[in-house]
Symmetry: C4
Subunit: 205 residues, 4 copies
């Protein structure tokens, strides 16, 4: 691992870690007043189920992205400026995740469920574009790729990254019709990312 | 210490550190207006005692978990994907701590004290489950354990981790009857964790 | 790279990373109520366009500053106390960026657009002063500069840093006349910073 | 520098960095409405002067504490559990700084100025106690001190740490009589900390 990627990884790890932690700020309940009882508090806490679901899903997503980020950076031989900026694009969209999460959490149980789900899936559509740009920066003409990485490995990764924007785009369209169906399609891709990690048949980062 | 655990530790340290720091965001007082006097501000500050108590307790808890996390990771010979995801589960629950802390702080002095204490203790019940999963990932069939760690050490740690979910479960039940009693039982376990650290009779991490 | 700069870089990276991530907290939409529909949510999300623009611009700015910070620290042979405090001044202004960003985002579409743009540009005027102080701490009488850095490189960097406060000052004045023109001038400087990086014709940090 | 202090320093650096960055969240202005004009926004921004003053002062304080923390940890030969917990106590009080800062910022210009200044100074009284505990953990019977550190150096540092709680205590009392006088006394101690750094006549950390 070159010196350059260490710096890049440390900075990216910090941003991933903070994005993970800020997700919890989304949980809000009313301040208690004289009439607040145990039963009322339980009701308020139970009413947070969409927040809890969004928190767990987004946490898992950022965690999976963190692991994939390391898989990707492990391919890198040297860091140049385009790579720094492409990596910044990925970090931009990663730090944005708490906002669509909050929107989804607050609207999933309302009449605006479709719009919030489409917005959530749409965010991941843009996220997948920034990842594609980062991948392109690394593997285009093998510019920044370590010599020992095979073309077969690169092809496998590239194909997965190609599918992602298409599936996320479909999940946006599906969300407009049915929020839960769109979210399910969006979530199904995370299984692909997890498999991509396991499929690499290499020691983890 | 292997390269793999360094990365894992740095990322986890970041998440622990941020979770610690976000706890302070819970402190809130009303904006001043024309009638705000010294006496009124002192009253507002004194009324924050449940926030202060929850802040100190939760800070201590996250600090103890941070120290225990290192104790645990020191056993690790190599990092694999199940371990990364199990560690992610621990981080998920650690970052969640500020929310039950806030709920407890705001409701401990109200008629909803029992529910808030049970929710707080229940959070630690789930936290202890994620730690058990992390421990299992490490020591099951000594998969990821360093060769020099003795079976006696593993047995001692495993027994402590087995007791935790049971005691936290009891503290939830106790909280429903009496908030303070439940919290006291919950807090008593932290002493066990501190002793676990000291009991390891090894140089600290 | 000396031991001293590693510590300084790690701390600064942390502050940059957190400043980047806090930018997302600026996104706020009303809580849903019984009348919230998909159309209303889309409207609320579209109304966030100034927030999104400010988020993307500020994110890019902090990212560019992060890269420039490393360019600058790469010149450093040893760290002394004036350098630590000058670096602290840069971090102070970097962490302040989320606030003018929020002000700009909320007021760009209102009658207070000029004031918000002038405040935003004015922030960068002060930021450029702290950068100039940091540069002076490093290169004054080549006090902390590595011996292999040529005087020509130092002159090139110093000239760019000299232009910055002047241009930012002009952008404040321009903002008072026309918000968008001022912001455009302010943004044009970022291109200079990017070019400064590329122009260094060295391996990136 | 031993392995143990590296871990401790990295974790502490993270907490210091986040505490620094969270200070900016204190800046709040009203949302714009139809009547918001440039003049109104300028007025709102100017009305933030106590926030800005508190932000700059607290930022400087946390920065000085960060530098002093490294001065202190540089004395350390090995890290043991009491030291980890004493360090945790310091971090607890450091992360608390944003709250008294916010209270001071909002009340300095009101009739509650004395109470807010006394609360601010009182926080630093407790902070100085946690630093004294950390110092005691390190130098008591030279338990964790590097052999090359002279007794004269330890005596010089101990004396400064002994004065701090007394002066901060006086500044609380003074604040109750006059807010600005108390804050001035509190701030004067920071000059002592800065001199302590410079007085060490050693290469910076």
């Amino acid at each position: 691992m070159t010196k350059g990627t260490e710096r890049l990884e440390a900075f990216s790890d910090g941003v991933f870690g903070i994005a993970l932690t800020l997700l919890v700020l989304e949980f809000q309940i009313p301040n208690p007043d004289a009439s607040t009882s145990d039963a009322i508090l339980w009701g308020e806490l139970l009413a947070l189920w969409p927040s809890l679901a969004a928190f767990c899903i987004s946490f898992a997503v950022v965690l999976i992205m963190w692991i994939n980020h390391h898989e990707l950076i492990r391919l890198v031989r040297k860091v140049d400026y385009p790579l720094l900026y492409a990596n910044g694009g990925v970090l931009l969209t990663v730090t944005f995740v708490p906002f669509p999460t909050k929107v989804l959490a607050r609207h999933l149980g309302t009449h605006a469920a479709s719009a919030s789900a489409a917005f959530y899936c749409g965010t991941f559509f843009f996220i997948s574009l920034t990842w594609s740009a980062l991948l392109a920066c690394i593997i285009w003409q093998r510019r920044n790729v370590k010599p020992e990485v095979t073309d077969a490995t690169l092809a496998r990764i590239r194909n997965t990254y190609r599918i992602a924007p298409i599936v996320y785009g479909l999940s946006v369209a599906l969300s407009l019709w049915n929020a839960v169906a769109g979210l399910a399609l969006c979530a199904s891709l995370w299984l692909v990312w997890i498999r991509l990690c396991y499929g690499s048949k290499q020691a983890p980062p």
